[in-house]
Symmetry: C2
Subunit: 444 residues, 2 copies
Amino acid sequence: MEGFNLELSDQPESLEQILVDCRDTLKYGIRTGHPRFFNQLSSGLDIIGLAGEWLTSTANTNMFTYEIAPVFVLMEQLTLKKMREMIGWPGGEGDGLFSPGGAISNMYSVMIARYKYFPEVKTKGMSAAPRLVLFTSEHSHYSIKKAGAALGFGTDNVILLSTDERGRVIPADLEAKIIDAKQKGYVPLFVNATAGSTVYGAFDPINEIADICEKYNLWLHVDGAWGGGLLMSRKHRHKLNGVERANSVTWNPHKMMGVPLQCSAILVREKGILAGCNSMCAGYLFQPDKQYDVTYDTGDKAIQCGRHVDIFKFWLMWKAKGTIGFEQHIDKCLDLSQYLYNKIKNREGFQMVFDGVPQHTNVCFWYIPPSLRGMPDSDERREKLHRVAPKIKAMMMESGTTMVGYQPQGNKVNFFRMVVSNPAATQSDIDFLIDEIERMGQDL
Amino acid sequence: MEGFNLELSDQPESLEQILVDCRDTLKYGIRTGHPRFFNQLSSGLDIIGLAGEWLTSTANTNMFTYEIAPVFVLMEQLTLKKMREMIGWPGGEGDGLFSPGGAISNMYSVMIARYKYFPEVKTKGMSAAPRLVLFTSEHSHYSIKKAGAALGFGTDNVILLSTDERGRVIPADLEAKIIDAKQKGYVPLFVNATAGSTVYGAFDPINEIADICEKYNLWLHVDGAWGGGLLMSRKHRHKLNGVERANSVTWNPHKMMGVPLQCSAILVREKGILAGCNSMCAGYLFQPDKQYDVTYDTGDKAIQCGRHVDIFKFWLMWKAKGTIGFEQHIDKCLDLSQYLYNKIKNREGFQMVFDGVPQHTNVCFWYIPPSLRGMPDSDERREKLHRVAPKIKAMMMESGTTMVGYQPQGNKVNFFRMVVSNPAATQSDIDFLIDEIERMGQDL
């Protein structure tokens, strides 16, 4: 905050000062488009996507009605259909919306599941339903728990499923926990299977989970916020085998597909249920006596009223790259991760968090500084190792050379989580990252 | 869809075709920035705001952590504080977030109120609370009902308050309905007072409502999505008198203040409650051992995970216009509405929906075609009049000259709702609208 006057005042600034402010904003910001920015699942800066976003802001309109966003509404319909085709729903039938991020898309899935089985909750509230429980992996995104809290289920009723060493749900554990919940008199409602977990990049076994959901008549949601993009790749889409059996899918093109923030879709197999769940039929906005087919008005399907135009940049990128362009993008990022994995799996000073080739671009590892290499496992060593990644990350941020995330997971102390979603990254950027970690960490 | 190939294919398009697509998208789109576009509460195209949005998309980052959006996070903090000062909360203390639209901001207010009085709902679900009821005006935005449905209260427990002929809540009706609910054994929780209703532009009497909320210990939310901007005007801010007594306020700069879509704030008087309500403490994102003060990380306050950068365009506009610039913008739009009102209140063929000078820029009126002017009130006349506004609107859309909304309200048949939020509009645009309605409606 030094040297950058953020304060707002009564009087206007000069245009010169506004330009200085713009320069300073970029100067002190983080270059998320840089090929050595590996800190988030969303990275890169696609130039066509950026142009699309610029046009979107120039159009400055709203997705709720066809009458003020005719082109964007049609683009959204058509793109969602294409995504449903890639999921494998017959004829691309179904419904969907672009929503403000994966957490909201996941929240939609829980709302729709509740409406499917207990539609009276919409009018009478949760007291009209028995005690409902939701199931999701201990490695899944925290938005399922957030949805549980927000929607009135309670986080105690979001039951966490055990995973194998690679972070994938163990189907037998799901079935055991369903049976357990039923024995307690609770009503299992919803299972979230993650396609590409945040930390490990794990893909839950969707087909086995779908078998159990069918057996017990539960809603199956696939959270493919991070992994959904792999559906564009003939080489990698098998990791989502069974996704066509899901009732709903979250898929964020702003992550693995490099679309500028924000661009997240909730896709639903059953047509009409999204509107059934959310419609309030506000007369002032959705007049039935308009001169066009009002089924093109999307506002009453959403929990929002106004909805940002997130479709155009994605549609334009798809036009410009073609499906094969996205496939190349995804294959390239996965190849780069494989390159990183191969380079460090047996390298001195690096230790993988789990064995085997990563399923997604996530590569999870500890950097072990020379001072800890000979030390046997102990609480002291674990505490010291826990502090290594934060220290290296702090040095990265001070020097501004690269940026990568770290976190603990379960009983595992802080480790680095490397991800690649920017197709501008190259092998030399990966080499640089390894060198930088070794350079910064050698004296810790 | 004729002559514009929206289909997505496997192969990329040429750059020339992409440019054609961009041109077509704008060509077939709606010019929401045109001074004769009066169809929505959000209109206009502020050039500094647009530049801000372009810079935002170039920065392509995410509000959830300080480490990847340091400048934007500070701008958000500072701007929200400034907004809280304008509300009148001592020292601008409190909390808040920019959210994806007023409906979500209103949803936050209901969630926070529930957390304040029944924090155990977060973990145990709605079954841990008694039957809770929410109160909002029959003229209020439908998002309060939507929040009731989504959050598990049920729309039956959203009790609609009666209004006077101007669409303002009758405080005595609120108190009667609170007493009635208590007698039935329900627990009143939350009252929404609207500052600028969607159709009439009505301001509920906040002070009188606040008295009742204090008496019965209820959460008071002010939905100022539309009317909040009037706080910037010394001349008009009295319409929100009492807003400083609210527990939470929704205020959308993307409406009356002309900030590009989307820009909506939820502001909360009590510090800490927003995080208490929504935090899940996800270790992979919000590490407590970062090298900076992690209270700057905002992600755990939100129901979203990733959050779009909505602050920069607003901050930049505020810098460029100063508070007095927003004041001039607002005063000008209200003057224009007054001009319209004065012009049509006694004009042949026009009939006001309610008497008196509008409180906001909303001017609600029927156009009575010559064929209906002599006809006494009857079902037939009402049915005919109901079809006039849709027909004129359809003609406007065909000819592309202007655009204004219509809707029925209660037992009132379709009428026009004129609003002005674009400071580029002038008296001649208002004159044009009146002429256009007369020209298009004369033979109906």
